[in-house]
Symmetry: C2
Subunit: 378 residues, 2 copies
């Protein structure tokens, strides 16, 4: 499947499509593998041989062609350009400092609006695992067709268990849109629920995980941003106009640091849903945000009968009566004896030993390490 196939289909809106890839989060729960200098999206966490950001690009390229824009931190410029050498310099947007998704996606929308006021953008995080790719792309194509009817469209994930770690999207009435047979209105976005509530959501069949995937006409997205976060709207619009005038660097340096920090969900999606402007395409693909090392264990079944999943370029791991996951970016010999559901993450300057059950607590440990002043390994 390539862009030509899509372009020659009956959906002319594809020509308006831009894929935007925010590549920002550090992934604290994946410390010490993922950290400020080497965030989650620069790692291969599935043993595929590809970094997550490269896999994201490859997944979108058949739809978006060379219309891919990446928003990342200045510190990651070289690494991102290495990974995505086909992306033009103009399409790599560098944040002087992290400002949450509202500013990152808002700026991308404003920049695209300057280039093409009729652009439809789709925002897809650089650090998620998705598959099969063609099922994902079919959802994106439906989302684009839906967005073209003046909607902000989220691709929801059919929940596979009653997670209390994700927000949910409640499906409303069915929409009748050409080229988008599975589009529904969004009734509302709901926050991370308690366990019993999550159970009811799953049983209802009408709630989807909010994976932060949005497809929207940039004009409509900016309208809602202006209405809800005028200061943020003014800032990103000013940067976008300065960029068109060849003043990008100066404008970023002057305006970006003062922008409000707010998630795109609060700045745009939730108020737009209240206004009846949001639709959902239920995604029927595998999705994982690789939130912790338990996810890595889940996504990488053990290669041998010993039951230890090993991720690393030059692993030398010996397991005796042990199971769990080892992630290593050293060439040290690692011996595991008599440990169950163990998680060992081995990096040159930091080592984590925990269990899959305690994988969520890694964030807390990182806070302790920071509090003790050992920032050199964060």
């Amino acid at each position: 499947m390539n862009q030509q196939q899509f372009s020659s289909s009956h959906i002319p809106e594809l020509d308006r499509f831009w894929a935007v890839v925010p590549a920002g989060g550090v992934g604290t729960r994946l410390w010490p593998l993922s950290r400020a200098a080497a965030p989650k999206f620069l790692h291969d966490l599935t043993g595929s041989g590809q970094t997550l950001i490269r896999a994201t690009y490859d997944r979108l390229h058949p739809i978006a062609g060379d219309k891919v824009m990446v928003v990342t931190g200045e510190a990651h410029r070289d690494a991102v350009c290495d990974q995505l050498s086909a992306v033009a310099q103009d399409n790599v947007i560098l944040e002087p400092e992290p400002k949450d998704s509202g500013a990152a996606i808002g700026l991308a929308a404003a920049l695209l609006y300057e280039r093409d006021p009729e652009a439809i953008m789709g925002s897809f995080a650089a650090d998620q695992v998705i598959g099969p790719d063609d099922v994902f792309r079919a959802s994106v194509v439906e989302a684009i067709a839906t967005a073209a009817t003046h909607k902000i469209v989220t691709i929801g994930i059919k929940p596979t268990y009653p997670s209390t770690g994700f927000g949910y999207i409640r499906q409303g009435e069915k929409l009748m849109i050409d080229g988008a047979p599975s589009a529904y209105k969004v009734d509302k976005f709901v926050e991370k629920p308690a366990a019993e509530v999550a159970q009811r959501y799953v049983e209802s069949g009408k709630h989807f995980w909010n994976a932060g995937m949005f497809v929207a006409p940039v004009k409509l997205l900016l309208q809602h941003l202006q209405a809800n976060e005028p200061e943020l709207y003014d800032g990103v619009t000013a940067i976008a106009k300065a960029t068109e005038a060849g003043q990008a660097e100066q404008a970023m340096a002057e305006i970006w640091p003062g922008l409000p920090k707010i998630a795109i969900d609060y700045a745009v999606a939730e108020p737009a849903a209240e206004a009846g402007d949001v639709a959902v395409i239920p995604g029927d693909f595998i999705w994982d945000d690789v939130g912790d090392f338990a996810a890595i264990a889940r996504l990488n079944p053990a290669a041998d009968e010993s039951g230890v999943t090993v991720i690393g370029e030059t692993p030398r791991v010996y397991a005796d009566d042990a199971n769990g996951v080892v992630v290593t970016d050293t060439s040290r010999v690692i011996a595991l004896i008599g440990v169950e559901d163990i998680v060992v993450v081995d990096t040159p300057d930091a080592l984590l030993v925990t269990t899959t059950e305690h994988a969520q607590s890694v964030k807390h440990a990182v806070e302790s390490i920071k509090a003790h002043g050992d920032d050199d390994v964060l």
Copy 2:
């Protein structure tokens, strides 16, 4: 307590005493801390600030003065001399290759016999933890007095639990020796017992752990060696005579590699016991052969309420809901989350993760690593 005190006491045999310290074993169960290039005796495993070999020397020096002989591998010459700078070069015997305790102790006996046929030697491994030192020395002094009556004397350890990991010494009739009120004949040496047998041994009050500590007139020791292992006897005697003639290096190179590999227990102690020539002094001191990481956890109570014992020069360990032992000779940050009785041994090129319960299995892992050709970390 110093040599002067002992020498001025009523035990003239002290003047004949030489302490021999075999410093050989790698301590495979303490891998990857202990290994060929940095064996157990060169580590501080008790947090005392001293290596085990230095502590052994300091423990013996008040009795032996400068009559301390060390037998070690050629590879460890510099490290041993660094640790024991007061030991004369003539008293550091270098093995071209490991040949078990029969050759090491046999050669020491032969060398001492050339210097003083009336010498009494005591052999004390370089990698055991013992205390209090003065209680230990009192046992050694009794052993010397007993040895002077033409006995090979072993210092037995009163068992604190029914270990199946040690051989036992069965006490025979009481001996009446001036200066050795607690000396007994040895009935026999018994191999590592099954659990039920070990339990009976402990209850009997007449069985002691064989800690491999022997005190004997070199003449008597060599007589038994000649009778039981004539080839070994001839070899070490030839090397000793060549050494006296200034031909040590050549003789070692020619003769040593051909010597039989046999433990001193089989070459001398057991047949001597059958001949009625062996006595035991029951030692009433704390003794630990630091056989595995469970021993290290036992010997080093956790310093803080988190329950993690940390051994290392520059440890940076964070524990959250964890207990066990961390041994590190790197300055990496180590985070432990939600793991119990964990053993983490962190070295620049190898990492071990196990539990105190599985500490004995480390030896097996080392064999696997060797079989896979990763000898660089052994």
